[in-house]
């Protein structure tokens, strides 16, 4: 008699915990009148020009598959954009592919780059998908904790200490979700040196690149000698308020992109052509709209971060993305408990820092991609909550 399974789901997936954010989402869904600072997306609608271009594409019958790598026109526009902004040159025919957001790019990249047991260093706190993508691809994710005292940057010494014989790749995501940390050119140069010395592939998630304040973003691939060993992931979700369009891109060595396109061809075939036409419009004609959104985030950032510090939640200055990551240690509560009580007692939703890795303990993530008046109301409620905790 054949042995019966007691679970339909494979063992690895069955053992994989759901994202810490998901758990919190279920709690928030049941409540009314919540001010949510738990959102990881812009509060602006997609600029109308982009929507109109997509509708226009549909009206003109552009509803077919595209090539697996995506519309060449769009890849050319991406190549131009990257060259103009960072001086890095990619061949649109062989070194760029269109993905369903950075999320798909990350998944496919890991599957292409890793052999079973390869180690991937993942600085934390970080976006929730990096570790699972490594594990699903048969790799071994090695979390590397960053700290507030170093502004949540990846330090070269810490990286050196984490590298072993089996280290294959490093994932970086700056500007960072959830901390808002950025790494300047000067911060990244020693990391590039180490990547070279230890022959690491660097997977750089730069989805928040345009949302960099008080300075300009450094594209990792633009550092000397790094283009050959970098897989650059980016997309349209954050800068152009296009989260639901699910459109991103991967740029890297032709050999890697060709392999990624092969997987993408089998599993996704191609990204939505309608979204691709929208993205083309974003790159061609929406710089002003994008700049206006970034300006608004920057103003909210200044107001909100000052507000957090004023009410007694010390918050290091986030210089990118649209998150503040205040320390809640002074309350004596763990992140999860703080977020849960703040939600139940004052109806403000924030995400516990632990959802993004162990070093997120003692912090919560607050999105400031929310209207100014809502941010002010949230600050008032948090202040009230803190006041009660103190007595």
């Amino acid at each position: 008699m054949s042995k019966r399974r007691n679970c339909m789901v494979n063992e690895q997936v069955a053992a994989m915990p759901p994202s810490g954010i998901r758990r919190f989402f279920d709690l928030v869904q049941e409540m009314e009148e919540v001010i949510s600072l738990g959102v990881g997306e812009p509060d602006f609608p997609t600029p109308w020009k982009i929507c109109d271009a997509a509708v226009d594409a549909m009206r003109h019958g552009r509803t077919s598959y595209t090539s697996n790598a995506g519309l060449l026109e769009l890849r050319e526009a991406i190549a131009e954009d990257l060259y103009r902004r960072y001086g890095v040159q990619y061949d649109p025919a062989t070194e760029i592919m269109i993905t369903a957001g950075v999320s798909e790019g990350m998944d496919v990249a890991m599957r292409v780059l890793l052999n079973r047991g390869d180690e991937v260093i993942v600085p934390q706190p970080c976006y929730v998908s990096y570790m699972p993508c490594v594990e699903l691809a048969g790799g071994c994710a090695v979390p590397l904790q960053t700290s507030e005292q170093n502004e949540f940057k990846l330090l070269p010494d810490a990286l050196s200490a984490a590298v072993t014989e089996r280290t294959r790749a490093l994932v970086i995501g700056y500007p960072n979700n959830p901390t808002g940390a950025v790494m300047s050119r000067a911060d990244l140069l020693p990391i590039a040196k180490l990547a070279d010395r230890h022959d690491l592939v660097v997977i750089s998630d730069e989805i928040y690149a345009h949302l960099t304040y008080n300075g300009s973003h450094t594209c990792f691939a633009s550092l000397p000698g790094m283009k050959e060993r970098t897989l650059l992931l980016n997309g349209f979700s954050k800068a152009y308020a296009m989260t639901g369009w699910r459109l991103g891109y991967a740029c890297g060595p032709a050999e890697v992109i060709e392999a990624m396109v092969r997987i993408h061809g089998y599993t996704a075939l191609c990204s939505s052509i309608i979204a691709q036409f929208g993205a083309l419009e974003a790159l061609r004609n929406c710089e002003a709209e994008m700049r206006a959104m970034v300006q608004a985030y920057d103003e909210r950032r200044r107001m909100f971060v000052k507000g957090l510090n004023d009410i007694g939640l010390p918050c290091f200055e986030p210089k990118g993305a649209f998150y503040a990551f205040p320390s809640i240690r002074s309350t004596g509560l763990a992140s999860d408990e703080f977020a849960r009580r703040l939600l139940f007692e004052e109806k403000v939703a924030v995400v516990p820092g632990t959802a993004f890795g162990a070093s997120g303990e003692g912090f919560v993530r607050c999105t400031y991609a929310t209207g100014m008046d809502q941010l002010k109301e949230a600050l008032d409620r948090i202040a009230r909550f803190l006041e009660r905790l103190r007595h």
Partner: protein, 161 residues
């Protein structure tokens, strides 16, 4: 001090506390106060006002766009005439235009007859006015950058990665 951005904020959001403006623009409250004082003194900042969708309130309010053909005066063109027309209470705005008409006058009244009377008794007989063509506004879809059509609510999830 980003003066243009300061004025944009006031234009879109109305008056805001000085401390908030200073924080948002990354400057001191004193700089904001000085900029506001200068903007008032030099006539850049005229007033604060609210944008009301009167159509939703069923308050009787009618607008007409009136194209005016006029005779220019030597040395001052249409300036004296435009100033004269602009002094009538009914007149909401006056513009010098390119194209067929010389001036466009936006007139506000409580009903169509009131506007018709204004055109027949005040505007058309004004010396210098050669001809008028009146178009009444039937419905407003967008004003001052604000769409008045029903907008779908925000579909964002309350918590997302």
């Amino acid at each position: 001090m980003q003066l243009q951005r300061l004025l944009e904020i006031l234009e879109h959001e109305g008056p805001r506390p000085t401390e908030e403006l200073a924080t948002r623009l990354g400057c001191s409250t004193q700089e904001v106060e000085e900029a506001l004082a200068e903007a008032r003194r030099r006539g850049w900042l005229l007033r604060y006002s609210a944008l009301i969708n009167w159509e939703k309130l069923d308050v009787p309010r009618v607008f007409a766009f009136i194209e005016v053909e006029a005779t220019p005066e030597h040395g001052t063109g249409f300036d004296h005439l435009a100033d004269y027309i602009g002094r009538f209470e009914e007149v909401h705005s006056v513009y010098l235009m390119s194209g067929r008409a010389d001036l466009t006058v936006v007139v506000q009244g409580t009903d169509f007859r009131e506007i018709a009377r204004f055109v027949a008794e005040k505007l058309a007989p004004t010396p210098g006015v050669k001809a008028t063509a009146t178009s009444f506004v039937l419905k407003t879809y967008k004003m001052e950058g604000e769409l008045l059509t029903d907008q779908p609510g925000n579909s964002r999830l309350a918590v997302s990665p």
